[in-house]
């Protein structure tokens, strides 16, 4: 069965195919964004009686270290360069077989052997 095409038809099919992929993906983005919105709306709001509770004393301020990139923003680095921190996080995620975005690192401190 020979289905030789002329170049014009091929060009139309190619453009149409690429457009369909984009259209399908665009609709999918819409659906996923919608899903995200609905899910975030369903998250339980902070409990109302909380106001009645005794106020919890604020924790003592901790000297802030430099914030590492690629984390939730609250990762404190003590004597650890950014690059090493990124590497450590990747290794921990790999060893634990847990995706990096499911892990939260609080701080990374270099321990010097004496």
């Amino acid at each position: 069965m020979d289905l030789k095409m002329n170049l014009g038809d091929a060009a139309i099919d190619a453009v149409m195919g690429y457009a369909i992929v984009f259209l399908g993906i665009a609709l999918l983005v819409l659906v996923v964004v919608l899903m995200g919105r609905i899910m975030s709306r369903k998250k339980p709001a902070p409990a109302a009686p909380a106001a009645e509770r005794q106020p919890v004393p604020a924790p003592a301020p901790v000297p802030a270290g430099p914030t590492a990139p690629g984390t939730a923003g609250d990762l404190k680095l003590y004597g650890t360069p950014d690059r090493d921190a990124a590497m450590i996080m990747a290794i921990v995620a790999d060893e634990l077989k847990i995706p990096l975005n499911e892990l939260r690192f609080i701080s990374i401190r270099e321990v010097n052997k004496k």
């Binding site: 060009a11 993906i25 995200g36």
Partner: protein, 437 residues
Amino acid sequence: MNNILETLKKLWMESGFMGFFENGGWKSFIMIIVALALLYLGIKKKFEPLLLVGIAFGTLLTNLPGAGLYHMEMWDAYVYECPYDAANEAILYDVEEERVLSVEEYMASLPEDAQEPEIIEKLSFTDIAHIGGLLDILYIGVKAGIYPCLIFIGVGAMTDFGPLIANPKSFFLGAAAQFGVFFAFFGAVLLGFNGNQAASIGIIGGADGPTAILTCMLLAPALLGPIAIAAYSYMALIPMIQPPIMRALTTEKERSVKMEQLREVSKTEKIVFPILVAGFVILLLPSTAPLIGCLMFGNLLRETGVTERLSDVAQNALMNIVTLFLGISVGATTVAARFLTVNTLKIVLLGLIAFCFSTVGGLLVGKLMYKLSGGKINPLIGAAGVSAVPMAARVAQVEGQKANPSNFLLMHAMGPNVAGVIGSAIAAGFLIKVFGA
């Protein structure tokens, strides 16, 4: 003494070695050298070894004269739906005139020393399992489209769609990186391939082995061997193909952009995602059902949290078993008479073009997103839109760190990377829909 010599002569004449000296036997010899080269690439250079070693060994086995493990003519008879002579391993089909021969015509064309014909009117998988060789039987899994789909269950079980759900804009990079598919499709038509063949060649640019195999098997099964080999070889070569294109199309400033941390994705979102995507994409493009359905089923097994055993089997045992069968049976299709043609060289060239232009497509849309976001998106993650998970994402990470050592793009690149799997499945679905029977 005469008897001994006669026996030795007979043994020699019937041995596979003699096959190398018969009509076209030298081609088998060349294919054995090709198989050894592929084994070298798989074992020594570690080019996608899990698949390439299997493909290479299948190539070796199928081209050993007299082994009879795979029968190309039998599969031709199955494809053309014409009668097959099992005794003489011939089909009742005139390729030049493109018509089925009558039994009388066939009998008249048989040489005098031919065996008594044993004609099967229309081959079924049962017939093939009955009269075929070992590789014919394993190849049924490819022909029926089972292996690529089972592999997609494993891929789904191994994929974390979290980065994609956290940043749905990544989807567009996965779509953009399908540019090479349609560019190579057009190029293939330009080089004289018909629509079905061009579509099968183009899908190499999706950088997704199972998708390429399924599309090719449905549209142009005769090209399966070269297409699978090209697809897997280029996937292994991504760390060499992509970086020069990435550096050529982006500036140092763009490459050094550090991206913001992704939001946390809840477990419920991860569970709903595969159900939603499967339902939506399949309804939109029903021809994607086998690929998207299996991919999302595998992912659901991973995310439910109550099917850990099944997820484990899909990721490991099932994936390994199917990879084993798929590799060796795809390799079996590289019969010398079909593989050593100018078309194979064209496919290898078009495959490379497809990969390069897919990378270009992803990068260009990445640059557009960089502009639109005010410099917040690193365009390098666009190159990860070619599926090849996770190789392409790793390349983006490496290139990003070269430009800025504190850059950590891996998780950001995983979004477009897994979006590329969905994008290539949609591209394949479109091509199957347009060119499929």
